[in-house]
C-alpha cells in the first residue's frame, strides 16, 4: 500500500459571503494521478491555492508528507516539492523560454547556481519538446506553447506533487493530445499529479481516481467509470446526455 503524500483536512475557505471551500477533506497517495472536476466556480482553483499557500484557509489543515504545512508561503510550497501551474498562464514575459524554466530550477529545484539551473532547464525543455523555442521570449509562444512552458517550469522545480489547473483549456484537439502524452510522461516519473480538467475525455483517459467538487464540497470520489454513473455528479456537472453516452461506453467497455 502506498503512502499518503498530500492531505487536506476539513478545509474551509470563506471569501466574504462565499463559502468557496466547505469542510473538504481528501488525500493524494504517492504516484497517483487524480482528476479534480466540477462546474465553474466550484472552488477548484481555490483548493489549489489553499494547498500551495496562496491563501490561508479559514479553518482546517494541509499536510504534506505528514508535516503540517497549512501556513506555508507559496515559495515554501515550491521548495518543498508542491508545484502548480496557473489556470491563466503566468510566464515571465520578457525572459526567454529557457530562462523561464531556469527560474523554476534555480529557486524551486534548488539548483546550486544560475549556470546549473540553465543546464537543468535545457534538459527539461528537451523532455517537454520545447527545445527549439529555448531562446525565444516567452511572450512569443502560442497559448499551447505557454501552457507547455508552465509544465516545463513546474517540472524544473523537481516536484513531488504537481497540480495542473486546466492545462488543456483553450487548446485544439491535436494540442490536447500532445499535452496528454506529456502528462503521461510526467506521471511515469512517479510524480503525484492532481489535474483540474473540464474535458471528460482527458479525465477518463488519465485519471486513476476522480474527485468531484460542487459549491466547495466534495460530492463524489471514485474511479472514472463509477463517477460518470454517479447520479449526484450527473445532476451537478455532467448532464444526462453525457452520462448516457459515457456511462454506456463504460458499461460496454
Amino acid at each position: 500500500m502506498s503512502t499518503t503524500i498530500l492531505a487536506a483536512e476539513r478545509l474551509n475557505q470563506r471569501f466574504g459571503g462565499i463559502q468557496a471551500i466547505d469542510d473538504l477533506s481528501f488525500a493524494l497517495k504517492e504516484g497517483e494521478v487524480v482528476a479534480l472536476i466540477g462546474p465553474n466556480g466550484a472552488g477548484k482553483t481555490t483548493l489549489v491555492n489553499l494547498l500551495t499557500g496562496v491563501h490561508q484557509p479559514t479553518s482546517g489543515r494541509v499536510r504534506f508528507e505528514g508535516v503540517d504545512v497549512t501556513s506555508q508561503k507559496p515559495y515554501q510550497a515550491a521548495r518543498r516539492g508542491l508545484a502548480r501551474t496557473f489556470q491563466i498562464v503566468q510566464p515571465f514575459p520578457r525572459m526567454t523560454v529557457l530562462e523561464n524554466v531556469a527560474a523554476g530550477a534555480l529557486f524551486g529545484g534548488a539548483s546550486p547556481s544560475v549556470a546549473a539551473a540553465m543546464d537543468t532547464a535545457r534538459e527539461q525543455l528537451e523532455f517537454m519538446e520545447l527545445a527549439q523555442f529555448a531562446d525565444r521570449p516567452a511572450s512569443a509562444l502560442t497559448l499551447a506553447g505557454r501552457k507547455r512552458l508552465e509544465l516545463a517550469k513546474s517540472m524544473a522545480m523537481r516536484p513531488k506533487v504537481l497540480m495542473l489547473d486546466e492545462v488543456n483549456a483553450g487548446l485544439n484537439s491535436s494540442e490536447i493530445d500532445g499535452a496528454l502524452r506529456l502528462i503521461r510522461k510526467i506521471a511515469e516519473r512517479g510524480i503525484t499529479i492532481l489535474v483540474i480538467e473540464h474535458l471528460m475525455k482527458v479525465v477518463m483517459s488519465l485519471a486513476e481516481r476522480v474527485l468531484v467538487l460542487h459549491h466547495g464540497q466534495l460530492i463524489a470520489e471514485g474511479g472514472p467509470k463509477e463517477i460518470v454513473r454517479n447520479s449526484k455528479v450527473v445532476e451537478a456537472y455532467l448532464g444526462q446526455k453525457f452520462a448516457d453516452r459515457f456511462g454506456g461506453e463504460a458499461a460496454n467497455g
Binding site: Y75, A78, A103, G104, F107, V114
Partner: protein, 320 residues
C-alpha cells in the same frame, strides 16, 4: 552582436574621462564631473529596487539625507572622515532594511507613495530634532584642509570610487541568483513566488542595496560641502531625478543608469547655461519623452534602424 565585454569597456572609458577632467577641463568641468559621478552612484543604487525589482522607489533623497546627517554627526563627534562615511553607510543600510520590511508589503502606487513619505518623515524628524541636528539652521561639517582645487580633486576621486563600487555590486547582482530572482519579481511577482522566490526577502535586499551607497554618497557630499541643512539634504527633486535618469538610460541593465545619468546631467548643464529660467522644464520634458517614446530607455533604442532612417548606415548589400 553585442560583445560581452562592451559594457565594461565603455564603463572603464567613462571612468577615465571623468577622472582626468582636472587635467584637461576647467574647474567648472571638474565640478560637473563630481556631480555626474555622484549621481551615477545614486542611479546605479536606485537600479537595484527600481530597475531589477521594478519597484518605483522615491526614497533616494531620504537615504542620501540620512547619510549626510549620519556622516556629519559622526565627523563632529570626532570620527575620522572615511570611517564616518562607513558609519553612514551602515546606518542607512540598517534603516532601509527595517523600513523596507514594512513598506514592501505594498505594491505599485501604494509603495511609491510610501517611499516618498519616508523622505518627508525623515526630513521632519531631522529638522525637529534641533538639539542633535541643529534643526533648520543646519550643521557645519569639519572641512578638509587644502585649497579648493585640491579638495575638488579628492572628492572627484571619492565619488568615482563609490560609483565604481556600485557598478561592481551591480555586476555581481546581475549575474547572481539574487539578480535572477529580482527580474522574476519585476516581470511577474506571483509567478516568482510560485517558482520558489522568497519575494519579501529579495525585495528587502534590493531596497537595502538601493540605500547603502546613497548613505555613503550623502556622507561624502556633506564632507565636501562643509555644511548641510534639512531642505538641501532631503530634496524631493533628487528622489524624482534619479529614477528619471535610470529610466532614461535603461532600467535593470548594467550601463543604463550610467548612460542615463550622463545624458541627463549634460542636458541639464546645457539648459542651466543657456536657459536659466527653463531648467525645471527639461525635467518635465524628459519625463514626458520617456513615457511616450522610450519605454525601455536609451539602451533599448534600435540604433541601427534610426541610423538607417537618417542614411547614416548603408543597407548591407545582399550577397549574390
Amino acid at each position: 552582436m553585442k560583445s560581452r565585454w562592451l559594457p565594461y569597456a565603455l564603463f572603464a572609458a567613462w571612468v577615465v574621462v571623468l577622472a582626468t577632467t582636472p587635467l584637461w577641463g576647467s574647474n567648472y568641468i571638474v565640478r560637473v564631473a563630481i556631480m555626474i559621478a555622484m549621481f551615477t552612484g545614486l542611479t546605479l543604487s536606485w537600479n537595484f529596487i527600481g530597475g531589477f525589482a521594478g519597484y518605483p522607489s522615491f526614497s533616494t533623497a531620504a537615504f542620501f539625507g540620512i547619510g549626510c546627517y549620519a556622516g556629519a554627526l559622526a565627523q563632529r563627534a570626532g570620527v575620522p572622515m572615511v570611517l564616518a562615511w562607513i558609519v553612514a553607510t551602515v546606518v542607512v543600510g540598517a534603516i532601509a532594511a527595517a523600513l523596507g520590511a514594512i513598506i514592501l508589503k505594498m505594491r505599485g502606487h501604494y509603495f511609491a507613495i510610501a517611499s516618498i513619505g519616508i523622505v518627508e518623515v525623515a526630513r521632519l524628524i531631522i529638522s525637529s530634532w534641533g538639539s542633535l541636528t541643529g534643526g533648520g539652521d543646519g550643521l557645519n561639517v569639519p572641512l578638509m584642509s587644502g585649497g579648493p582645487n585640491a579638495v575638488a580633486r579628492i572628492f572627484l576621486l571619492v565619488m568615482i570610487v563609490i560609483m565604481i563600487m556600485s557598478f561592481i555590486v551591480t555586476v555581481i547582482v546581475d549575474r547572481s541568483r539574487l539578480g535572477f530572482g529580482l527580474r522574476c519579481i519585476q516581470q511577474n511577482e506571483d509567478a516568482a513566488n510560485m517558482v520558489g522566490v522568497n519575494n519579501r526577502l529579495y525585495k528587502v535586499i534590493a531596497y537595502t542595496l538601493s540605500a547603502l551607497f546613497c548613505g555613503t554618497i550623502g556622507a561624502a557630499h556633506a564632507s565636501w560641502t562643509g555644511y548641510i541643512d534639512p531642505s538641501d539634504s532631503f530634496s524631493i527633486l533628487m528622489s524624482v531625478k534619479v529614477p528619471v535618469m535610470c529610466l532614461l538610460g535603461g532600467p535593470g541593465t548594467l550601463l543604463g543608469p550610467v548612460i542615463g545619468t550622463a545624458a541627463f546631467m549634460m542636458l541639464e548643464e546645457v539648459f542651466w547655461a543657456n536657459f536659466l529660467d527653463y531648467n525645471r522644464a527639461i525635467l518635465g520634458a524628459v519625463i514626458v519623452i520617456l513615457i511616450f517614446f522610450l519605454p525601455g530607455g536609451l539602451l533599448a533604442l534600435r540604433y541601427r534602424d534610426i541610423a538607417r532612417r537618417f542614411g547614416l548606415l548603408r543597407e548591407p548589400k545582399m550577397a549574390a
